[in-house]
Subunit: 214 residues, 2 copies
DNA sequence: CGAAACGTTGATCGTCATCAATGACGGTGG
DNA sequence: CCACCGTCATTGATGACGATCAACGTTTCG
């Protein structure tokens, strides 16, 4: 979902103000602008300073699958540097974004020299891998309605505003299908008739989710 | 799919023979035995020396989802040490397995002191994250038949023998559904009438996969 | 004792019904 | 023009039930 990493963010503030700061640029992106493009080689690693991006992969049939939304303190491009590979997904701003940019080779050398950076990246990778596994599992195993519900809970908690297109992309469905499923949830009185607010208490929600377990 | 990591394996051989070797035990597991159990706390990090394990998560409804098969040189339990969290998935031997065991705290301290180990783990996490993303995407977006085909190609290439139950678990379906889909592929002359061998040339296969792109 | 007969078990598949999810087309309303 | 939704048809995927068959061990009878 929306990942953030305050520790990483704080460390970058510190780095940018240090003697190394000269190597770190700050760049601005308008919504829709891309920080990285799937399949291309990267030149910089970016750490989000402000704003939200989406991280998605486009399949050969043109359908997009959004892995996560990245907010403050999230790093991107690190996978590619570590693996010395082309860009896995596209990173696109969905709000105005400002990001620190570290040249590829510099990041690569810091990564194994700067103990703090090393640990931050290691923990970040571990967290993402765990989250990705958890989601891949339940999205495979439970029906769409279940996945949508869980997602709406998160949106609610984080007070996040996302376009329908992006929500649909996260669930790997079309906007049409998304609308349909929302309507079904409204008919079941799970969602408010307007907007995407949940209409349930904590317990009701848990009971509802558990009902998918047969 | 079946991951292996020869570099990690080689490094473990070396470590086990060094002055640190005393801390590293070797354990044996029969097929069906578990190295780690989902939800439990871990006490050791394991590196597979020989044999194959499956790494899977069980959802509340009792269905299993297999993430990957781990072979020689693959590490497990590292995520939990890095994140200081309970076990994400169960790791179960599917052939006789022998594994190096490193006590949790020891691994934890080596991880940020031993540069080689650090790099091996970092690269391993990066690779797994990338692979997991790639798979999550296409398994979400394409129909079952597509996923099965891609999986059979890999089995073929790696000369791997897996039980039907495990193949089904990887695809997140029941054995019944697996059998059904196999039958459909046989009727389309894509698979041999016996076994799971592909019956196509490289080009035919590519053409077939591309046909899913509309 | 040994061979035929029997019963149990698990794997597979035909069939049917059902649910989940999508695609297409057209209408409505801002 | 675009976002949204009603409707209908269709595809994708599953679950339930029952028949079949092979494997295996045990019993029974000559």
């Amino acid at each position: 979902m929306l990942f953030t990493n305050p520790d990483f963010s704080a460390y970058m503030e510190q780095l940018a103000g240090s003697s190394q700061g000269g190597h770190i640029a700050t760049r601005q992106y308008a919504p829709g602008a891309m920080l990285l493009r799937q399949g291309e080689n990267i030149h910089h690693v970016y750490i989000i300073r402000e704003g939200i991006t989406k991280c998605y992969m486009r399949e050969e049939n043109g359908k997009d699958f959004i892995f996560e939304f990245l907010g403050q303190g999230e790093v991107t491009g690190e996978l590619e540097v570590i693996r010395k590979a082309a860009c896995l997904c596209t990173i696109e701003a969905i709000t105005p974004v400002s990001a620190w940019a570290i040249p590829r080779d510099l990041f690569s050398s810091w990564l194994y020299k700067d103990a703090t950076l090393n640990r931050l990246v290691m923990e970040e990778l571990a967290t993402r891998l765990a989250q990705t596994c958890i989601r891949a599992s339940y999205q495979q195993i439970y029906p769409l309605e279940y996945g949508l519900l869980r997602f709406l809970v998160l949106i609610d908690q984080q007070q996040l505003h996302l376009s329908k297109k992006d929500i649909a992309g996260y669930l790997a469905i079309s906007v049409r299908s998304f609308n349909r499923t929302v309507k079904q949830l409204r008919e079941k009185k799970v969602l408010a008739t307007e907007g995407l607010q949940l209409h349930l208490s904590e317990q009701q929600l848990e009971a509802l989710l558990r009902r998918f377990d047969d």
